[in-house]
Subunit: 138 residues, 2 copies
Amino acid sequence: MSDAAETESAVLTANRAFYRAFAAGDFGLMDILWSHRAPVACVHPGWPPVRGREKVMETWRGILSHPPTPPIRSVEPVATVHGAFAYVICFEVIGELYLVATNLFVLEEGAWKLVHHQSGQTERRPGSEPERGDRTIH
Amino acid sequence: MSDAAETESAVLTANRAFYRAFAAGDFGLMDILWSHRAPVACVHPGWPPVRGREKVMETWRGILSHPPTPPIRSVEPVATVHGAFAYVICFEVIGELYLVATNLFVLEEGAWKLVHHQSGQTERRPGSEPERGDRTIH
């Protein structure tokens, strides 16, 4: 595997751990996965932005105390790496509910740590392509 | 102004230019603002992810041919800088419609260029704080 492929694989591993923590309601793992050094933020679907580690982790503590059922799954994750930061865009699937998320990571002491997550609902399904003239709001 | 404040200011200037291009339907400016070097992606509200410069700019060409009315405005933008990348989280306001967006930038030859944009609708208004127990989907 090339260095680039190895790096992408490491980012996708961190992304999988995020959804494992999410699905399992594992706050301890979620806490480890988020950066302790860099400023972090989060945009949960329909929420206003949440900024700062303490507030972000407080939202996760609430969410993970009753994780979504059926368990959330990440589908079609694609990692893009730019040096010491990377982002994964993926679908999130909760039963019949579909969302699209961006998860932003930074490299800290050899580990990819989350610094930002934004998720929003979509009517579209994994595998679908944007259509010409496709527009909802903008 | 400190170096950090100057950098944040430069990122916010790039973010303002993005919304100026968006509101004015100025595809030429929008094209300049997106990176020509780094891989780019976009998640328009309700859309599946769009990946690759050609496809992303094609979506902008479509959107900017009929930009939203009343014109889109960016409210409460906050920039976070991590070395050669930065992101801005802000509200987007189109009349009575509120969205939250993350705009991701990389530094290229001294200019902050967009590499990713995700926007999603919110019921919440600028100035509001997440409430304890606040949850929509997750």
